[in-house]
Protein backbone atom coordinates (compact mmCIF):
# COMPACT_ATOMS: atom_id res chain seq x y z
CA UNK A 1 0.00 0.00 0.00
CA UNK A 2 2.71 2.34 1.08
CA UNK A 3 4.69 1.38 -1.97
CA UNK A 4 1.77 2.19 -4.27
CA UNK A 5 1.41 5.56 -2.70
CA UNK A 6 5.05 6.50 -3.12
CA UNK A 7 4.92 5.37 -6.71
CA UNK A 8 1.91 7.57 -7.33
CA UNK A 9 3.69 10.46 -5.67
CA UNK A 10 6.67 9.86 -7.88
CA UNK A 11 4.53 9.89 -11.01
CA UNK A 12 2.79 13.05 -9.85
CA UNK A 13 6.03 14.85 -9.13
CA UNK A 14 7.45 13.70 -12.46
CA UNK A 15 4.50 15.27 -14.33
CA UNK A 16 5.05 18.50 -12.41
CA UNK A 17 8.73 18.35 -13.29
CA UNK A 18 7.90 18.01 -16.99
CA UNK A 19 5.86 21.21 -16.90
CA UNK A 20 8.63 23.10 -15.12
CA UNK A 21 11.18 21.72 -17.58
CA UNK A 22 9.11 22.85 -20.57
CA UNK A 23 8.71 26.32 -19.07
CA UNK A 24 12.45 26.57 -18.47
CA UNK A 25 13.24 25.52 -22.03
CA UNK A 26 10.76 28.05 -23.44
CA UNK A 27 12.24 30.80 -21.31
CA UNK A 28 15.77 29.87 -22.37
CA UNK A 29 14.81 29.83 -26.05
CA UNK A 30 13.05 33.18 -25.78
CA UNK A 31 16.08 34.75 -24.11
CA UNK A 32 18.41 33.23 -26.71
CA UNK A 33 16.34 34.51 -29.64
CA UNK A 34 15.98 37.90 -27.94
CA UNK A 35 19.72 38.34 -27.52
CA UNK A 36 20.32 37.14 -31.08
CA UNK A 37 17.83 39.67 -32.45
CA UNK A 38 19.32 42.40 -30.28
CA UNK A 39 22.87 41.71 -31.50
CA UNK A 40 21.55 41.65 -35.06
CA UNK A 41 19.96 45.05 -34.58
CA UNK A 42 23.28 46.48 -33.39
CA UNK A 43 24.52 45.88 -36.95
CA UNK A 44 28.07 45.07 -35.82
CA UNK A 45 28.45 42.54 -38.65
CA UNK A 46 27.02 42.63 -42.15
CA UNK A 47 23.82 40.68 -42.77
CA UNK A 48 25.50 37.87 -44.71
CA UNK A 49 27.64 37.13 -41.66
CA UNK A 50 25.03 37.74 -38.99
CA UNK A 51 21.52 37.02 -40.22
CA UNK A 52 18.53 37.67 -37.96
CA UNK A 53 16.39 34.85 -36.51
CA UNK A 54 13.72 35.72 -39.07
CA UNK A 55 16.20 35.41 -41.92
CA UNK A 56 17.32 32.00 -40.68
CA UNK A 57 13.67 31.01 -40.50
CA UNK A 58 13.50 32.00 -44.16
CA UNK A 59 16.51 29.77 -44.90
CA UNK A 60 14.83 26.92 -43.07
CA UNK A 61 11.62 27.19 -45.09
CA UNK A 62 13.67 27.54 -48.23
CA UNK A 63 15.81 24.48 -47.55
CA UNK A 64 12.75 22.46 -46.55
CA UNK A 65 10.90 23.60 -49.71
CA UNK A 66 13.73 22.63 -52.08
CA UNK A 67 13.98 19.38 -50.07
CA UNK A 68 17.75 19.61 -49.57
CA UNK A 69 17.35 19.66 -45.77
CA UNK A 70 15.13 16.57 -45.81
CA UNK A 71 17.37 14.71 -48.26
CA UNK A 72 20.47 15.79 -46.34
CA UNK A 73 19.04 14.61 -43.04
CA UNK A 74 17.98 11.32 -44.61
CA UNK A 75 21.37 10.66 -46.22
CA UNK A 76 23.23 11.56 -43.05
CA UNK A 77 21.02 9.46 -40.80
CA UNK A 78 21.32 6.46 -43.13
CA UNK A 79 25.10 6.74 -43.01
CA UNK A 80 24.97 7.10 -39.25
CA UNK A 81 22.78 4.03 -38.89
CA UNK A 82 24.94 1.91 -41.21
CA UNK A 83 28.22 3.04 -39.69
CA UNK A 84 27.09 2.82 -36.11
CA UNK A 85 25.56 -0.64 -36.55
CA UNK A 86 28.82 -1.82 -38.10
CA UNK A 87 30.67 -0.38 -35.13
CA UNK A 88 28.43 -2.17 -32.68
CA UNK A 89 28.80 -5.42 -34.58
CA UNK A 90 32.57 -5.28 -34.96
CA UNK A 91 33.28 -3.63 -31.60
CA UNK A 92 30.95 -6.01 -29.78
CA UNK A 93 32.49 -9.07 -31.39
CA UNK A 94 36.07 -7.97 -30.73
CA UNK A 95 35.11 -6.92 -27.19
CA UNK A 96 33.71 -10.39 -26.51
CA UNK A 97 36.84 -12.00 -27.96
CA UNK A 98 38.83 -9.81 -25.59
CA UNK A 99 36.87 -11.21 -22.65
CA UNK A 100 37.28 -14.75 -23.93
CA UNK A 101 41.04 -14.49 -24.51
CA UNK A 102 42.49 -12.45 -21.63
CA UNK A 103 45.93 -12.02 -23.19
CA UNK A 104 44.42 -10.55 -26.32
CA UNK A 105 42.05 -8.49 -24.18
CA UNK A 106 44.84 -6.89 -22.21
CA UNK A 107 46.88 -5.94 -25.27
CA UNK A 108 43.92 -4.87 -27.32
CA UNK A 109 42.48 -2.70 -24.58
CA UNK A 110 45.63 -0.54 -24.26
CA UNK A 111 45.73 -0.29 -28.04
CA UNK A 112 42.05 0.63 -28.22
CA UNK A 113 42.36 3.21 -25.45
CA UNK A 114 45.01 4.93 -27.52
CA UNK A 115 42.79 5.00 -30.56
CA UNK A 116 39.79 6.10 -28.53
CA UNK A 117 41.12 9.62 -28.23
CA UNK A 118 42.44 9.69 -31.78
CA UNK A 119 40.89 12.67 -33.66
CA UNK A 120 38.36 11.31 -36.14
CA UNK A 121 39.06 14.06 -38.65
CA UNK A 122 42.48 12.48 -39.23
CA UNK A 123 40.71 9.27 -40.26
CA UNK A 124 38.78 11.27 -42.86
CA UNK A 125 41.97 12.46 -44.50
CA UNK A 126 43.38 8.94 -44.28
CA UNK A 127 40.26 7.41 -45.88
CA UNK A 128 40.18 9.57 -49.01
CA UNK A 129 43.17 7.97 -50.75
CA UNK A 130 42.23 4.29 -50.45
CA UNK A 131 38.45 4.71 -50.77
CA UNK A 132 38.01 7.89 -52.79
CA UNK A 133 35.13 10.31 -52.36
CA UNK A 134 32.35 7.86 -51.62
CA UNK A 135 30.17 6.31 -48.93
CA UNK A 136 32.74 3.69 -48.07
CA UNK A 137 35.18 6.37 -46.98
CA UNK A 138 32.55 8.00 -44.76
CA UNK A 139 31.50 4.67 -43.25
CA UNK A 140 35.14 3.91 -42.56
CA UNK A 141 35.51 7.16 -40.64
CA UNK A 142 32.37 6.52 -38.58
CA UNK A 143 33.50 3.01 -37.72
CA UNK A 144 37.03 4.03 -36.80
CA UNK A 145 35.71 6.85 -34.64
CA UNK A 146 33.32 4.71 -32.60
CA UNK A 147 34.38 1.06 -32.82
CA UNK A 148 37.06 1.31 -30.12
CA UNK A 149 34.61 2.83 -27.71
CA UNK A 150 32.19 -0.05 -28.30
CA UNK A 151 35.05 -2.51 -27.93
CA UNK A 152 36.28 -1.16 -24.61
CA UNK A 153 32.77 -0.81 -23.27
CA UNK A 154 31.89 -4.39 -24.13
CA UNK A 155 35.13 -5.64 -22.63
CA UNK A 156 34.93 -3.73 -19.38
CA UNK A 157 31.16 -4.06 -18.88
CA UNK A 158 31.32 -7.84 -19.07
CA UNK A 159 34.45 -8.11 -16.97
CA UNK A 160 32.89 -5.96 -14.27
CA UNK A 161 29.80 -8.11 -13.83
CA UNK A 162 29.64 -9.10 -10.15
CA UNK A 163 30.81 -12.74 -10.04
CA UNK A 164 27.94 -13.68 -7.74
CA UNK A 165 25.46 -13.33 -10.65
CA UNK A 166 27.50 -15.73 -12.74
CA UNK A 167 27.92 -18.18 -9.88
CA UNK A 168 24.22 -18.13 -9.06
CA UNK A 169 23.29 -18.52 -12.70
CA UNK A 170 25.64 -21.40 -13.39
CA UNK A 171 24.42 -23.04 -10.20
CA UNK A 172 20.93 -22.89 -11.68
CA UNK A 173 22.16 -24.55 -14.84
CA UNK A 174 23.03 -21.62 -17.09
CA UNK A 175 25.94 -22.22 -19.42
CA UNK A 176 27.20 -21.20 -22.82
CA UNK A 177 24.91 -18.99 -24.82
CA UNK A 178 22.09 -19.08 -22.25
CA UNK A 179 24.45 -17.66 -19.63
CA UNK A 180 25.52 -14.99 -22.09
CA UNK A 181 22.01 -14.08 -23.20
CA UNK A 182 20.15 -14.26 -19.91
CA UNK A 183 22.80 -13.13 -17.45
CA UNK A 184 25.88 -11.50 -18.92
CA UNK A 185 24.12 -9.16 -21.33
CA UNK A 186 21.46 -7.92 -18.90
CA UNK A 187 23.97 -7.66 -16.06
CA UNK A 188 26.27 -5.57 -18.23
CA UNK A 189 23.47 -3.40 -19.66
CA UNK A 190 23.68 -0.32 -17.40
CA UNK A 191 27.32 0.16 -18.22
CA UNK A 192 26.90 -0.92 -21.86
CA UNK A 193 24.32 1.81 -22.39
CA UNK A 194 26.69 4.50 -21.14
CA UNK A 195 29.44 3.28 -23.44
CA UNK A 196 27.20 2.96 -26.46
CA UNK A 197 25.93 6.45 -25.88
CA UNK A 198 29.50 7.69 -25.87
CA UNK A 199 30.28 5.68 -29.01
CA UNK A 200 27.24 7.22 -30.66
CA UNK A 201 28.45 10.72 -29.97
CA UNK A 202 31.89 9.84 -31.38
CA UNK A 203 30.22 8.46 -34.51
CA UNK A 204 28.06 11.55 -34.88
CA UNK A 205 30.98 13.97 -34.54
CA UNK A 206 33.01 11.97 -37.04
CA UNK A 207 30.20 11.70 -39.56
CA UNK A 208 29.56 15.43 -39.90
CA UNK A 209 33.28 16.10 -40.14
CA UNK A 210 33.70 13.40 -42.75
CA UNK A 211 30.80 14.75 -44.82
CA UNK A 212 32.40 18.17 -44.85
CA UNK A 213 35.77 16.82 -45.96
CA UNK A 214 34.66 13.96 -48.19
CA UNK A 215 32.31 15.70 -50.59
CA UNK A 216 29.86 13.47 -52.44
CA UNK A 217 27.67 15.65 -54.66
CA UNK A 218 25.37 12.83 -55.71
CA UNK A 219 24.44 12.07 -52.09
CA UNK A 220 24.47 15.39 -50.24
CA UNK A 221 24.47 14.78 -46.50
CA UNK A 222 24.11 17.54 -43.91
CA UNK A 223 27.84 18.14 -43.80
CA UNK A 224 27.92 18.65 -47.53
CA UNK A 225 24.91 20.97 -47.49
CA UNK A 226 26.75 23.02 -44.93
CA UNK A 227 30.07 23.20 -46.76
CA UNK A 228 28.43 24.04 -50.09
CA UNK A 229 26.44 26.80 -48.37
CA UNK A 230 29.77 28.21 -47.22
CA UNK A 231 30.96 28.38 -50.82
CA UNK A 232 27.98 30.62 -51.61
CA UNK A 233 28.25 32.64 -48.40
CA UNK A 234 24.79 31.45 -47.30
CA UNK A 235 25.14 31.95 -43.55
CA UNK A 236 21.42 31.35 -43.06
CA UNK A 237 21.77 27.88 -44.61
CA UNK A 238 24.82 27.11 -42.51
CA UNK A 239 22.96 28.01 -39.34
CA UNK A 240 19.96 26.00 -40.52
CA UNK A 241 22.09 22.87 -40.89
CA UNK A 242 23.69 23.56 -37.51
CA UNK A 243 20.26 23.75 -35.92
CA UNK A 244 19.33 20.48 -37.61
CA UNK A 245 22.50 18.78 -36.37
CA UNK A 246 21.80 20.09 -32.89
CA UNK A 247 18.19 18.86 -33.02
CA UNK A 248 19.20 15.39 -34.18
CA UNK A 249 21.73 15.21 -31.35
CA UNK A 250 19.10 16.15 -28.80
CA UNK A 251 16.53 13.73 -30.19
CA UNK A 252 18.95 10.82 -30.07
CA UNK A 253 20.35 11.64 -26.69
CA UNK A 254 17.19 12.67 -24.90
CA UNK A 255 14.59 10.54 -26.55
CA UNK A 256 16.47 7.38 -27.40
CA UNK A 257 19.39 6.91 -25.01
CA UNK A 258 18.00 8.75 -22.02
CA UNK A 259 14.73 6.82 -22.18
CA UNK A 260 16.46 3.45 -22.35
CA UNK A 261 18.87 4.45 -19.63
CA UNK A 262 16.11 5.70 -17.36
CA UNK A 263 14.19 2.48 -17.81
CA UNK A 264 17.18 0.35 -16.92
CA UNK A 265 18.20 2.55 -14.01
CA UNK A 266 14.75 2.50 -12.49
CA UNK A 267 14.61 -1.30 -12.78
CA UNK A 268 17.90 -1.66 -11.01
CA UNK A 269 16.92 0.96 -8.48
CA UNK A 270 19.88 3.14 -9.36
CA UNK A 271 17.81 6.32 -9.41
CA UNK A 272 16.18 6.20 -6.02
CA UNK A 273 18.98 7.48 -3.90
CA UNK A 274 16.50 8.41 -1.20
CA UNK A 275 15.56 4.76 -0.67
Amino acid sequence: MLEEKTQLDKRHSRAKLDVTDAANVALFLAAFLGIWQFVFLLRIWPEFLMPSPAMVLGSITNLVANSSLVVGTGVTLLRLAAGFLMSIGIGGAVGLAMVKFPGFGKTMSSFAVGLLTFPSIAWAIFAILPFGYNDMAILFVIVMASVFSVMITTYSSIRNIPPIYLRAASNMGAKGFALFQHVMIPAATPSLILGIRQAWSFAWHALIGAEILITITSEPGLGYVMSSARNFHFMGDIITVMITIFAIGIVFDRVLFRKVEEKVRSRWGLDDRSE
Binding site: I164, M172, G173, W268, L270
Partner: protein, 270 residues
Protein backbone atom coordinates in the same frame (compact mmCIF):
# COMPACT_ATOMS: atom_id res chain seq x y z
CA UNK B 1 23.08 -39.57 17.23
CA UNK B 2 23.34 -40.64 13.63
CA UNK B 3 24.23 -44.28 13.74
CA UNK B 4 26.81 -46.34 11.91
CA UNK B 5 24.05 -48.07 10.03
CA UNK B 6 23.30 -44.80 8.22
CA UNK B 7 26.87 -44.30 7.23
CA UNK B 8 27.14 -47.65 5.52
CA UNK B 9 24.00 -47.39 3.52
CA UNK B 10 24.05 -46.29 -0.09
CA UNK B 11 20.65 -44.69 0.12
CA UNK B 12 22.22 -41.52 1.44
CA UNK B 13 21.09 -38.40 -0.34
CA UNK B 14 24.42 -36.62 -0.07
CA UNK B 15 27.79 -38.11 0.67
CA UNK B 16 30.83 -35.93 1.16
CA UNK B 17 33.78 -38.31 0.90
CA UNK B 18 37.18 -37.36 2.30
CA UNK B 19 37.12 -33.90 0.76
CA UNK B 20 40.34 -31.90 1.11
CA UNK B 21 41.16 -28.40 0.03
CA UNK B 22 44.35 -26.41 0.49
CA UNK B 23 44.79 -22.78 -0.43
CA UNK B 24 48.14 -21.49 -1.50
CA UNK B 25 48.87 -17.92 -0.51
CA UNK B 26 51.05 -15.45 -2.35
CA UNK B 27 53.96 -16.00 0.05
CA UNK B 28 53.82 -19.73 -0.80
CA UNK B 29 52.27 -20.53 2.55
CA UNK B 30 49.82 -23.37 2.49
CA UNK B 31 46.60 -23.24 4.38
CA UNK B 32 44.76 -26.51 4.77
CA UNK B 33 41.13 -25.48 4.86
CA UNK B 34 39.53 -28.91 4.64
CA UNK B 35 41.27 -32.09 5.57
CA UNK B 36 39.50 -35.28 4.52
CA UNK B 37 36.06 -34.16 5.55
CA UNK B 38 33.31 -36.73 5.26
CA UNK B 39 29.64 -36.09 5.92
CA UNK B 40 26.65 -38.21 5.08
CA UNK B 41 23.27 -36.58 4.87
CA UNK B 42 20.04 -38.47 4.68
CA UNK B 43 17.01 -37.39 2.68
CA UNK B 44 15.00 -34.74 4.49
CA UNK B 45 17.63 -33.90 7.09
CA UNK B 46 18.35 -30.35 8.19
CA UNK B 47 22.05 -30.26 8.92
CA UNK B 48 23.79 -27.17 10.24
CA UNK B 49 27.52 -26.58 10.16
CA UNK B 50 28.97 -24.13 12.67
CA UNK B 51 32.48 -22.87 13.00
CA UNK B 52 34.37 -19.64 13.33
CA UNK B 53 35.19 -17.67 10.22
CA UNK B 54 37.96 -19.24 8.25
CA UNK B 55 37.09 -22.76 9.27
CA UNK B 56 36.26 -23.70 5.71
CA UNK B 57 32.51 -24.03 6.04
CA UNK B 58 31.75 -21.88 3.01
CA UNK B 59 34.45 -23.64 1.02
CA UNK B 60 32.87 -26.95 1.92
CA UNK B 61 29.47 -25.71 0.82
CA UNK B 62 30.83 -24.44 -2.48
CA UNK B 63 32.52 -27.78 -3.09
CA UNK B 64 29.27 -29.60 -2.37
CA UNK B 65 27.55 -27.24 -4.82
CA UNK B 66 30.18 -27.94 -7.47
CA UNK B 67 31.10 -24.26 -7.62
CA UNK B 68 34.52 -25.02 -6.22
CA UNK B 69 36.72 -28.08 -6.82
CA UNK B 70 38.21 -30.13 -4.03
CA UNK B 71 41.89 -31.09 -4.24
CA UNK B 72 40.81 -34.61 -3.46
CA UNK B 73 37.69 -36.42 -2.37
CA UNK B 74 34.30 -36.77 -3.97
CA UNK B 75 30.74 -35.61 -3.71
CA UNK B 76 27.98 -38.13 -4.29
CA UNK B 77 24.31 -37.34 -4.64
CA UNK B 78 22.04 -40.38 -4.45
CA UNK B 79 25.15 -42.48 -5.04
CA UNK B 80 26.18 -40.63 -8.17
CA UNK B 81 29.46 -38.76 -8.54
CA UNK B 82 29.11 -35.04 -9.03
CA UNK B 83 31.93 -32.98 -10.43
CA UNK B 84 30.18 -29.89 -11.75
CA UNK B 85 27.47 -27.62 -10.52
CA UNK B 86 23.83 -28.37 -11.29
CA UNK B 87 20.38 -27.30 -10.13
CA UNK B 88 20.09 -30.44 -7.99
CA UNK B 89 22.24 -28.70 -5.37
CA UNK B 90 21.22 -25.08 -5.16
CA UNK B 91 23.01 -22.49 -3.07
CA UNK B 92 21.28 -19.71 -1.18
CA UNK B 93 24.07 -17.15 -1.02
CA UNK B 94 24.59 -14.70 1.80
CA UNK B 95 23.25 -11.85 -0.28
CA UNK B 96 23.22 -10.17 -3.65
CA UNK B 97 22.57 -13.20 -5.81
CA UNK B 98 19.19 -12.06 -7.16
CA UNK B 99 19.11 -10.47 -10.59
CA UNK B 100 18.28 -6.75 -10.39
CA UNK B 101 17.17 -6.64 -14.04
CA UNK B 102 14.30 -9.04 -13.35
CA UNK B 103 11.17 -8.70 -11.26
CA UNK B 104 10.60 -10.98 -8.28
CA UNK B 105 8.43 -13.26 -10.41
CA UNK B 106 10.98 -13.37 -13.24
CA UNK B 107 13.78 -14.10 -10.78
CA UNK B 108 11.87 -17.04 -9.36
CA UNK B 109 11.03 -18.30 -12.86
CA UNK B 110 14.63 -17.96 -14.01
CA UNK B 111 15.81 -21.53 -13.45
CA UNK B 112 12.76 -23.00 -15.11
CA UNK B 113 13.21 -20.69 -18.08
CA UNK B 114 16.75 -22.04 -18.46
CA UNK B 115 15.43 -25.58 -18.23
CA UNK B 116 13.04 -24.85 -21.10
CA UNK B 117 9.87 -25.33 -19.06
CA UNK B 118 6.77 -23.90 -20.83
CA UNK B 119 5.94 -20.33 -19.81
CA UNK B 120 2.63 -21.16 -18.14
CA UNK B 121 4.23 -23.85 -15.99
CA UNK B 122 7.10 -21.52 -15.07
CA UNK B 123 4.62 -19.01 -13.80
CA UNK B 124 2.52 -21.56 -11.94
CA UNK B 125 5.52 -22.98 -10.10
CA UNK B 126 6.97 -19.55 -9.39
CA UNK B 127 3.71 -18.26 -7.98
CA UNK B 128 3.35 -21.30 -5.77
CA UNK B 129 6.71 -20.72 -4.12
CA UNK B 130 6.35 -16.97 -3.96
CA UNK B 131 3.16 -17.69 -2.02
CA UNK B 132 5.06 -20.09 0.18
CA UNK B 133 7.53 -17.40 1.22
CA UNK B 134 4.56 -14.99 1.57
CA UNK B 135 5.63 -12.47 -1.01
CA UNK B 136 2.65 -12.67 -3.39
CA UNK B 137 2.11 -8.93 -3.11
CA UNK B 138 5.62 -8.32 -4.35
CA UNK B 139 5.70 -10.63 -7.36
CA UNK B 140 5.88 -7.62 -9.69
CA UNK B 141 8.42 -5.66 -7.62
CA UNK B 142 12.03 -5.18 -8.53
CA UNK B 143 14.80 -6.39 -6.29
CA UNK B 144 15.91 -2.99 -5.02
CA UNK B 145 12.42 -2.42 -3.67
CA UNK B 146 12.74 -5.32 -1.23
CA UNK B 147 14.28 -5.44 2.24
CA UNK B 148 17.18 -7.76 2.99
CA UNK B 149 14.95 -10.39 4.53
CA UNK B 150 12.53 -10.29 1.61
CA UNK B 151 15.40 -10.75 -0.82
CA UNK B 152 16.48 -13.91 0.95
CA UNK B 153 12.91 -15.21 0.82
CA UNK B 154 12.90 -14.61 -2.93
CA UNK B 155 16.20 -16.49 -3.17
CA UNK B 156 14.64 -19.40 -1.29
CA UNK B 157 11.59 -19.38 -3.55
CA UNK B 158 13.85 -19.24 -6.61
CA UNK B 159 15.71 -22.31 -5.39
CA UNK B 160 12.61 -24.28 -4.39
CA UNK B 161 11.04 -23.69 -7.79
CA UNK B 162 13.76 -25.83 -9.34
CA UNK B 163 12.96 -28.69 -6.96
CA UNK B 164 16.57 -29.37 -5.93
CA UNK B 165 17.66 -32.51 -4.07
CA UNK B 166 19.33 -30.35 -1.48
CA UNK B 167 19.37 -26.71 -0.48
CA UNK B 168 22.79 -25.37 0.41
CA UNK B 169 22.48 -22.28 2.57
CA UNK B 170 25.61 -20.17 3.02
CA UNK B 171 24.97 -17.89 6.01
CA UNK B 172 21.80 -16.75 4.27
CA UNK B 173 20.52 -14.64 7.16
CA UNK B 174 23.80 -13.12 8.31
CA UNK B 175 22.97 -9.72 6.86
CA UNK B 176 19.49 -9.25 8.35
CA UNK B 177 18.51 -7.87 11.73
CA UNK B 178 17.68 -10.14 14.65
CA UNK B 179 13.89 -9.84 14.57
CA UNK B 180 13.77 -10.48 10.84
CA UNK B 181 16.11 -13.41 11.24
CA UNK B 182 13.80 -15.05 13.76
CA UNK B 183 10.88 -14.63 11.38
CA UNK B 184 12.94 -16.09 8.55
CA UNK B 185 13.91 -19.05 10.75
CA UNK B 186 10.28 -19.86 11.42
CA UNK B 187 9.44 -19.55 7.76
CA UNK B 188 12.33 -21.79 6.79
CA UNK B 189 11.25 -24.41 9.32
CA UNK B 190 7.74 -24.30 7.92
CA UNK B 191 9.13 -24.75 4.42
CA UNK B 192 11.25 -27.64 5.60
CA UNK B 193 8.15 -29.22 7.12
CA UNK B 194 6.10 -28.66 4.01
CA UNK B 195 8.60 -29.63 1.32
CA UNK B 196 10.74 -32.14 3.27
CA UNK B 197 13.75 -30.73 1.43
CA UNK B 198 17.18 -31.72 2.59
CA UNK B 199 19.02 -28.67 3.85
CA UNK B 200 22.70 -28.08 4.56
CA UNK B 201 22.99 -24.81 6.42
CA UNK B 202 26.27 -23.10 7.19
CA UNK B 203 26.49 -20.41 9.87
CA UNK B 204 28.81 -18.89 12.45
CA UNK B 205 25.82 -18.10 14.61
CA UNK B 206 25.43 -20.87 17.17
CA UNK B 207 21.91 -19.89 18.22
CA UNK B 208 20.81 -20.03 14.61
CA UNK B 209 22.26 -23.51 14.20
CA UNK B 210 20.63 -24.66 17.42
CA UNK B 211 17.26 -23.28 16.43
CA UNK B 212 17.17 -24.90 13.01
CA UNK B 213 19.08 -28.13 12.58
CA UNK B 214 18.22 -31.70 13.35
CA UNK B 215 21.95 -32.30 13.31
CA UNK B 216 24.74 -29.91 14.12
CA UNK B 217 28.30 -30.29 12.94
CA UNK B 218 31.15 -28.35 14.52
CA UNK B 219 33.91 -27.68 12.02
CA UNK B 220 37.38 -27.05 13.34
CA UNK B 221 39.74 -24.59 11.65
CA UNK B 222 42.61 -26.28 13.48
CA UNK B 223 41.91 -29.75 12.10
CA UNK B 224 40.26 -28.64 8.91
CA UNK B 225 37.68 -31.24 9.64
CA UNK B 226 34.71 -32.13 11.79
CA UNK B 227 35.34 -31.63 15.46
CA UNK B 228 32.15 -33.06 16.78
CA UNK B 229 28.64 -33.80 15.74
CA UNK B 230 25.44 -33.30 17.73
CA UNK B 231 22.03 -34.66 17.08
CA UNK B 232 19.25 -32.36 18.20
CA UNK B 233 15.98 -34.23 18.38
CA UNK B 234 13.89 -31.47 19.86
CA UNK B 235 10.67 -30.20 18.33
CA UNK B 236 10.88 -26.98 16.30
CA UNK B 237 10.43 -24.05 16.48
CA UNK B 238 12.72 -24.15 19.48
CA UNK B 239 13.42 -21.77 22.29
CA UNK B 240 17.21 -21.50 22.25
CA UNK B 241 17.09 -20.40 25.89
CA UNK B 242 15.39 -23.61 27.02
CA UNK B 243 17.26 -25.91 29.44
CA UNK B 244 17.60 -28.76 26.93
CA UNK B 245 19.16 -26.53 24.33
CA UNK B 246 21.35 -24.84 26.89
CA UNK B 247 22.87 -28.19 27.82
CA UNK B 248 23.86 -28.82 24.21
CA UNK B 249 24.94 -25.25 23.74
CA UNK B 250 27.39 -25.50 26.63
CA UNK B 251 29.04 -28.54 25.11
CA UNK B 252 29.35 -26.85 21.74
CA UNK B 253 30.69 -23.66 23.27
CA UNK B 254 33.34 -25.73 24.99
CA UNK B 255 34.39 -27.19 21.67
CA UNK B 256 34.40 -23.77 20.04
CA UNK B 257 36.34 -22.24 22.93
CA UNK B 258 39.13 -24.78 22.41
CA UNK B 259 39.25 -23.81 18.77
CA UNK B 260 39.26 -20.17 19.63
CA UNK B 261 42.15 -20.57 22.05
CA UNK B 262 44.06 -22.51 19.46
CA UNK B 263 43.57 -19.81 16.87
CA UNK B 264 44.60 -17.14 19.36
CA UNK B 265 47.73 -19.04 20.30
CA UNK B 266 48.64 -19.56 16.70
CA UNK B 267 48.17 -15.90 15.90
CA UNK B 268 50.38 -14.78 18.77
CA UNK B 269 53.11 -17.26 17.83
CA UNK B 270 53.13 -15.82 14.34
Amino acid sequence: MITAEYRQSNSMLLQVREVSKTYLYANNQKHVVLNRVSIDINDGEFVTIVGSSGCGKSTLLNIVAGLDRPDSGTILVKGKHKTSTDPGRLVIFQEGALFPWLSVLENVEFGLKLAGVPKSEQMQAAIRFIDMVQLSKFAGSYIYQLSGGMKQRVAIARALTMNPDILLMDEPFAAVDMQTREMLHNQLLQIHDETKKTILFVTHNLNEALALGTRLIVLSPRLGSIKREFSINLPRPRDVESPQITVIKRQILKELEEEFQFVRRENTVR
